[in-house]
Every structure is written in C-alpha cells, then in structure tokens.
Subunit: 218 residues, 4 copies
C-alpha cells in the first residue's frame, strides 16, 4: 500500500539542542498527541504539552496560534493523509468491495501504527468549535465512501435500492466503533484481531450491501 498514510506523530529519540526548527514543530505536535491521548483535550494543559515536548510553553505560541490550533492541526494533518490514502484506493479501479476493504484497512491499521493518534481522533471528534473544519475533511471521507458504494451499485455488485449516503454512515460507523472498542480496551487488538475485524466488517457490511434477499436465510 502507501508509504506513511499518517503523519508520523510517534516520538523519536533526539533530545539535544541542535534541532531543525521544523523538527521542533513536529515534536510539539507529537507531544500534543500523547498528552491529548492521555488526558483528553480539555483536561490537557498547554504546560503539559510543553513539558512532554521538552520546551518552554511560550515556544508553543511561536509555532501555533492557540491550543485549539494544535488539535485542529492534528485533525487536519491526519485526515489529509487518510484522505490521500483513500483517494489512492478510489483511483485504483478495483471493485467496490475491494475499495471498501482498502478503506477499512487504512482506518483500522492506523490503530496499530499510532494508537495515541487514534485515541485523540476517536475521543475528540465531536467537539463544537472546530467542528466546521473537521466536517470539511471528514465529510470528504464520507463522500469518498459513498462514491465507492455508488460505484458498487453501478457495477451491479450492491443493491440498487440502497441509500448510498446512509450506507456510507453504516460502513464508517462500524469502523469507528471498532476503533472505539480498541481505544476503550473493550476489544482485543492484536494483529490477528485487527485482521479479523477488517474481514468481518467487509464481509458483513458488503455482504449486506450485496443484498441477501430476506428469503435467503430461510
């Protein structure tokens, strides 16, 4: 698949003073992810993030306008990456079911790649102030999923009488709930389980999309 997909917010080891300024910015973002993941956005103090990043808290305002902007940047960067990955999948030309499998892989595997980042994404989604910003990008993701489903309908793979928009919510909701289960420790999350979740979601949802007539189970 793709190379990074997610902005690399997992910490690296350097602590010395000779750091490129752009690197320091990244380090602050990494620290923010870790702290937000640990304590939640509202409960996190700017000082905590600075401490985690090993800088004075004043420096934070050199790189970001506000604490809010930190969260927004995290959201924005991450969703930009995720969207790009989804776009790759969309342009791959594979069948709808395989496209949706790709989306599931992108989202679910991000958990193992950077759990703290997923924690933040899952737990701080529904905050009001920057909701508008988020909607723009998360909305894009929904739209992409919806297009994939519509493509499946056009190809005859999925039932034509399906409301594709509604269906995209069903699919995305299933993915997010699994991620939430991992975030809250309610579901096992080893590699095998991640793979199982991926195939289960795709089988169940796409199976449902494919439309097993009501009488099929009889």
């Amino acid at each position: 698949m793709h190379a990074p997909i997610l902005a690399d917010y997992s910490a690296s080891a350097l602590t010395d003073r000779s750091i490129a300024p752009e690197e320091k910015r990244r380090r602050i973002l990494q620290a923010a992810v870790r702290v937000f993941a640990r304590k939640g956005f509202h409960t996190s103090r700017v000082g905590d993030i600075a401490e985690e990043a090993g800088v004075a808290h004043g420096l934070l305002y050199h790189y970001f306008d506000s604490k809010d902007e930190l969260l927004e940047t995290i959201f924005h960067d991450t969703w930009t990456d995720l969207l790009a990955a989804m776009q790759d999948v969309e342009e791959s030309g594979v069948p709808a079911r395989e496209q949706l499998r790709g989306v599931a892989a992108i989202l679910l595997r991000s958990w193992r790649r950077d759990p703290d980042l997923v924690r933040v994404l899952v737990r701080e989604v529904a905050r009001s102030p920057q909701l508008q910003e988020q909607l723009a990008e998360v909305g894009e993701a929904f739209a992409a999923i919806q297009r994939m489903i519509e493509r499946g309908q056009a190809d005859g793979d999925f039932r034509a009488d399906l409301d594709a928009r509604l269906a995209s919510f069903v699919f995305y909701g299933a993915l997010e709930e699994i991620l939430t289960g991992w975030v809250l420790g309610q579901l096992p999350d080893d590699d095998e389980q991640v793979a199982l979740a991926e195939s289960t979601i795709v089988d169940v949802i796409c199976g449902g999309f494919a439309g097993v007539p009501a009488g099929a189970a009889a």
Copy 2:
C-alpha cells in the same frame, strides 16, 4: 413495548416555589441536557444550567455533588431506560433479526423523542472521569446485542462463523453513526428518513450476518 423509554428531560420553565422538590431536581436535569446539547459539557458553565432551569446556581449543589455528577446522572438515567427497553425486546422471544430491529427502533427513535438528550449522549460518550460507570451500562447494551446475535446463530439465522462480540460493535456502530449524522445535521431526519435508516441498518447488517456465501461476491 415500554412506556416512556427515555426519562422526560424536555421541560417547561417556572420559577415559583410551588414545585415539588423532586420536580425541581428533574427540571435541573432537563436544563442541563439542553445546555450540554447546545454548548457541550466542557464549555457549559454551571451558571448557564442554573439560568436555564430558572434557579440559583447554588441550588444545583443541593441536588448534585458536582457538574460532573449532572452528566453522570443523565447518562445513568438514560441508559437505565434504554437498557430496560432492550431487555423487553430480548425477552419477547421474537427471532434475532426482529430483536435487533427492536434495538434499532429504540435507539433511533429516541432521536425524535428527545434530540437534545441524544446530542449529549452522542457527543459526550468518551469523557474520562465517569468512563467506568458509563462503560458498565453501555457495556450491558453491547452484551445484550451480542446475546441477540448469538441467539440468531443458535437458530441458524446468522452465520455460525461470526465473532458475535465484534458483530455487536458493527451493529451498534452503525446505529450510533446514524445518530451522529442527525446530531451534526449531515443526514435528513424526518420521520420517513428515520424509518428508512432503521430498515436500512437492519437489512444491511442482518443481511450481512445472515451470511453472504463466500462465492456470492465472486
């Protein structure tokens, strides 16, 4: 089915002293739901809630220990009601698919019954302090759904090779995402759409549960 399902947190406003204390307590909870729905828990001030309830803010601490306890009470009361309704469904003896349809109906219809309450439930799920409490009750709901799915497997209605726990997350996630869509105004939510969502979820998910023969997609 059951009678109220959700505690009636939709309110009217009065300030006189001729109100039973228990009624006053309820009124404060109603106000909290409205304010939390409007501004989010963290952004809401205790004074806002008191004003909305038409009481002095001090009175709030007569009935509740803290602002946190307000949210906890809302969660607890609501989930107690929801669980009771789900239990009725579970004990009804109808086939698994119909049971899950009942669960979908309970959760989705609550949106029209008390949108503010759903807004709060959806947006404040993942708050840390009372997470344990919430998990206990929301966890019950998941367990009930899981049992319904297992029942469907035992009856031969659902694929036997399905991880029922994972499946319960898929089902619940779909429901919650639809609710979120309504909360964020991304999905139409008139009566007809609610009914459509209900049947779409049940058809898709239960269809998927019923088992898409591996070859069907080939």
Copy 3:
C-alpha cells in the same frame, strides 16, 4: 469553692423530641463547642453544628443571630463563669499567693472539666470581630489578677518594685501556655500533672514575685 464554674457544655444523653426549648439552645451550644474544638471555628460549618446537635440548621438561627454569635456566646458564658469564680477567690480574703493559687486552680482544672471548651477558648482567642467583647471580659480577668498582685505588694508579700500589670501578664501567660500544651498534646495532663502544673506555676511565679534579692543571682 463554687458550684459549676463553667457552663456545662459537655453533652448529656437525651435525644428524644420532648425537650424544653432552653435545653435545646444549650444542646446547640454544646454541639458548637465540640465541633469548634474538632475543626476550628473557621473550618466548622453551621451544618456540622446542626448535625452534631441533631437539629435542622435553620433552627440554629432561631436561637442565635449568626455563627459568630455562637462563638461569642461560648466565650461570654465561659468567661462570666470564670470571672465569678475568680471574684469569689478575690473576696475570700486569703493572702495574695493563695488567691493566685485559686486562679490557677480555676483555669487549669477547667481542662479536665471540659477539654473541648478549653480547646476552643485557647485556639480562637484572637479572632477579630468579637475581639472587643472578649477583651472586655478577659480584660476583667487580668484586672482581677493585677489586683491580687497589688494586694500582695501592699501586704509586703511581693516586691514593691514590680509592675503589677506586667506581672499579671506573666502569670496569666504561664497558665495559658500550660493549657495550650495540654490542648496540643505536648504536655501530660493526668490529674497528678495538673496538680504539679498548678503548684509549679504558683511556686515559680509567686516565688519570683516575692522578690529575688538582687544579690541572689550574683
């Protein structure tokens, strides 16, 4: 000696509802003494006192104008009693040294009689609002001690070149510090020790009053 000396603020057992109103007032005062002794005046809440007294906190305002008045009443009642006892001693006509011994006995023995009361007296002496009131009565006590010393000087028992006012502070300070030592648990306070403290103070201070020949220290 006298009969009660101190208002009886130590609790009695009655808890039933058929209580004379005057008795209830006393009970509230007793409760206040216990609570103030335990937590200090400022840290004590009116509700604590009401609970300790077994009444609703509103009732407190039937008998007293304010929380401050509770403390004032305790001070006033106690010092009225103490002053009366000291006056008895003063009018007894015994030699100055014996009069001072009587004062020491009154103050020191009050510790065993009602430790909580002494705790309150010792710890809350220097509160601002009612300072004037207190000064009036504690001032009386100092005046009485001063008169006793002056009597001793007139009788030739005590050195004539002694500043009697200053001397009264020395004598009273010694007494209060011993009480403080008991309150803070820094000094043993069994009956024998109380008696030892009494005689030590009288011997040392009155010995000092009696006049250390200038040459004695040479």
Copy 4:
C-alpha cells in the same frame, strides 16, 4: 548577637518589571505578612495580598502553591531565624539566667523590629493544617529553653526539683503573653517598656526558678 534574626518582611512597593524574581517572591511574602497582620489569615483574600504586593494574583501561584503555603513559609522562615539566634545564645556558654535573658531579648525585641510579623505569629499560631510543621520548629524552641533550664539546674542556679519541661512552658508563656499584650494594644510598647518587660520576665521567672523557699517571704 546575630545580624538579621528575622527575615526582612518589611517592604517598599514597586510594580515595574526590573525586579529580580527572587526579590518578587520576597515582596509577596512581605505583602502577605502585612495583610495577615491587618485582617487575619482567614479573613485575608489572596487578591488583597496580590494588591498589596502590586502584582496580579495569578503570580502568587507562580511562587506558592496555595494561600496556606504562604503562611507556612512565613512561619518556617521566621522560626528558622529565631531558632538560629537562640542556638547562638545556647552555645555562648553564659550562665542559664543570661541565656534565658537572651531568649527573652530575641523574642521581645522582634516586636519592635517587625510588629506585623509578630502579629501574624501570635494570632495564627494555633491553626490546624500546618500545625505539625509548626510544632517541629516551635517544639525545637521549647526544647532549647528546656535545655537552658536544665543547664541552670546542673549548675546549681535553679532548683533541682523543678520540672524543666513544665518550666519551659511557664517561661515561654510569659513571653508570648507580653507579645500578645502588645499585639492587642493592652500593654505599652515603647523601647523602655520593652526593656522593662524583658527584665521583669527574667527577674520574676528566673527568680522563681532559683527557688525562693516558701518560707523566705514570711
């Protein structure tokens, strides 16, 4: 004797930024002493202290964890100084009576040096939370006095049958009561009176310690 004895909490007021941070900390402590002296600890608001110091109240929490810590610091600093001075006296090798005279001088002369500080010390001694801390240091002072008395007994200057611990309370109590008299304005406190108090206490108490046999006054 020693140089400063008491931390210099008497202050001047400035608001500009050209002040060393350590100096700012000292200034806040000075302000706290003045405000506590004027209104008492409990009645003083943090804002009052900040205003007196000419800083924003938030800055206070940059240097101290809480309002309580302010009082604790004042106590600690002061008693550290007082103890050091008493230790100098103790190590001087002069006779017991002269040592006690030194202690009296240290404590009584502190009144003229920094009346507000003494006001705080005298009026807020018996507060519960930090009592433990205080006891440690004030307890040291008592122990030193006790050792001086025991030294006097060993040298044959003081009666051997005296309970030295009790005696230390008598001596210290006399000193504190004089200070209290000055704090409450009940005793004249000009230089001459301070000297008189000093010699009166030493003469009376040490005279008493020296032990004028009961029959001596006859």
